[in-house]
């Protein structure tokens, strides 16, 4: 790991990658929270992610990790706090607008457009960014064909980069599991994200697939110049890939820091394993 990839204390008491220090964070949350009928699912959450950071969100089952992703993408409207994407307040923005601001995500349980072809899954995600209206799509103005062609070429390049060119015409639903997971990432990248949210990308993968995924995550960051925020239970992946890690328990952040900090944090060990001392002496 190069010197520039170290996590350092930024002036505002958050930790950032050294190379991201002079840049505006891509994602900033302040006192973010949501109540479900009196239950504080997520409370007082503060996140800062730099524009080239790979950040991990871990925690026991039911800690509220996916809820955090749903808040960031406005699937749920937060009941408190602020989310800023690249310095822009997201209050009052819809899920689709959040996507246009540069937030893309994958899902814990794969949600592809199963009856559409692999290529269509990717171009559908690109479409929302293309300019021209309903009229020109009916009357097939030259601009339509130009944009359409460019979108298809771009989609093919993306698929090619992920080794999926051959399956272009296959319905997404009939791909094998691992390929479906990969297509979800390709589809998310097709929206040209500034930050990519991955919800348990390694779920259901065998060790060699997980190793490939780890390489892919780093490669995506470099190639697409995007920050990555991921939820994952595979500790080996998290510790190896992430620059910074946040640990969530009962909807609150109990620890934040580098993988090394987290590994030695007594609170984290307690949250995952129960009380250490009791376990040792009992």
């Amino acid at each position: 790991m190069s010197e520039k990839n170290r996590l350092v204390d930024a002036p505002s008491h958050v930790k950032l990658l050294e190379r991201d220090l002079d840049k505006r964070p891509i994602l900033e949350c302040m006192h973010l929270g949501i109540d479900f009928g009196g239950l504080h699912a997520v409370e007082d959450l503060n996140i800062t992610i730099g524009p080239t950071e790979i950040s991990g969100l871990i925690g026991p089952n039911g800690a509220g990790k996916t809820t955090v992703f749903n808040l960031l993408t406005k699937v749920y409207e937060p009941t408190g706090g602020v989310i800023m994407i690249d310095g822009v307040d997201t209050r009052g923005k819809s899920t689709a607008q959040i996507s246009h601001m540069g937030v893309a995500r994958t899902f814990q349980n794969i949600r592809l457009f199963n009856h559409m072809s692999v290529l269509e899954n990717v171009t559908a995600a690109m479409d929302a960014r293309l300019k021209y209206g309903f009229g020109s799509s009916i009357f097939r103005l030259p601009a339509y064909w130009r944009e359409e062609k460019r979108a298809r070429e771009e989609a093919r390049e993306l698929l090619n980069a992920f080794g999926m060119s051959k399956e272009e015409e296959t319905p997404a639903g009939s791909l094998p599991y691992g390929e479906q997971r990969r297509l979800e990432i390709v589809r998310a990248l097709a929206t040209k994200p500034r930050i990519l949210l991955l919800d348990e990308p390694a779920a259901g993968m065998n060790p060699s697939e997980t190793r490939e995924l780890m390489e892919n995550i780093r490669w995506i960051r470099e190639t697409f110049n995007t920050a990555i925020f991921l939820i994952e239970h595979d500790m080996k992946l998290v510790m190896e890939v992430c620059d910074g890690i946040m640990v969530l328990n009962f909807g609150r952040v109990i620890a934040k820091g580098t993988p090394k900090d987290i590994q030695n944090d007594p609170q984290v060990i307690e949250a995952y394993l129960g009380r250490k001392k009791e376990a040792q002496h009992g």
């Binding site: 993408t73 699937v75 819809s94 899920t95 689709a96 996507s99 246009h100 893309a104 995500r105 899902f107 949600r111 592809l112 457009f113 199963n114 009856h115 559409m116 269509e120 171009t123 559908a124 995600a125 479409d127 929302a128 960014r129 293309l130 309903f134 799509s137 009916i138 359409e148 589809r187 998310a188 097709a190 929206t191």
Partner: protein
């Protein structure tokens, strides 16, 4: 033989009208996941618009049809925005009841404006007719079949080949995921309503020229038949709606010609029940297997 042929042609004619209406039902169901029971009444509004455009404004028939399509598409978008959009997160039963409410609202609105007496739909003269195998075929029948065929091909190309069509399919498969990929679900649903209602307006013109008399409750029977056709073919599937509509029209006319005029509707629904017993998702409906 000539009875058979005549029945076949009138069945295709009626079936085309059902298919055009069923397309609207099916598209809205597939994309907005709701049964728009006010869809039948859009036909009635479309027919009255045609009458006003020709009789009162003295517009030529083709212009009247375009006006009617625009009015209905606008009305469909208005209904979606005012009545259905606020209920997007509500249980589907609330939306269904609202749709029935909208249906009664439109019928009573027409009753207020046009009164309860039936009005004659302006007939297109000069289309002529011709005879094949001793059967007289009206020009309007030929036009109905031709226009319906063109619309079906056009709509299929639109859904499969255009960006908006792709967005519609994405929304219909997974609304949440589509939205997270930046597709505006509200805009997509709005356009779906516009297209569905526009098709209903075209159906209304053919209905008016075939059955002539229009009254405020005119929309309900073809509406229910078209809904049946959509279920018959597999609701949510566009080829299903087309096939269902055409088959329903044929079955109805053959039942009328060969069995009994009074029993024709009962026969139509009996066939529907039989089909649904064998294929619960309709003729071309997608099988949905529950993942465990």
């Amino acid at each position: 033989m000539s009875i058979f042929l005549r029945t076949f042609i009138s069945g295709l004619n009626l079936g085309s009208i059902y298919a055009l209406i069923a397309l609207g039902y099916s598209m809205v169901y597939g994309i907005a996941k709701m049964l728009n029971f006010a869809h039948g009444d859009i036909i009635m509004i479309g027919a009255y618009t045609g009458i006003v455009a020709v009789m009162n404004l003295h517009l030529p028939p083709v212009v009247a049809l375009i006006v009617s399509v625009i009015v209905c598409a606008g009305l469909g978008m208005l209904i979606e925005t005012l009545a259905y959009k606020p209920l997007r997160q509500a249980p589907s039963l609330s939306v269904l009841i609202t749709a029935i409410g909208v249906s009664y609202f439109l019928q009573n609105l027409a009753l207020l404006i046009f009164g309860s007496e039936q009005k004659a739909y302006p007939q297109m003269s000069g289309l002529g007719s011709f005879t094949i195998l001793d059967v007289k075929v009206d020009g309007i029948t030929v036009m109905t079949l031709a226009v319906t065929a063109v619309i079906m091909i056009g709509l299929t190309l639109f859904i499969n080949g255009t960006r908006m069509g792709k967005a519609m399919r994405a929304v219909s498969e997974d609304r949440g995921a589509a939205e997270l990929m930046g597709i505006s679900v509200n805009k997509t649903i709005l356009i779906t309503f516009a297209i569905g209602s526009g098709l209903a307006a075209i159906a209304s013109a053919f209905y008016g020229m075939t059955y002539v008399y229009i009254k405020p409750t005119t929309g309900s029977m073809p509406g229910i038949k078209a809904f049946t056709a959509a279920v018959f073919g597999g609701i949510g599937s566009l080829p299903g709606a087309m096939l269902g509509g055409i088959l329903l029209g044929l079955i109805e006319q053959f039942a009328k010609a060969y069995i009994s005029t009074q029993w024709s509707d009962a026969i139509v629904f009996a066939v529907l029940i039989l089909v649904l017993i064998v294929r619960p998702t309709g003729l071309l409906g997608k099988k949905s297997t529950e993942k465990v």
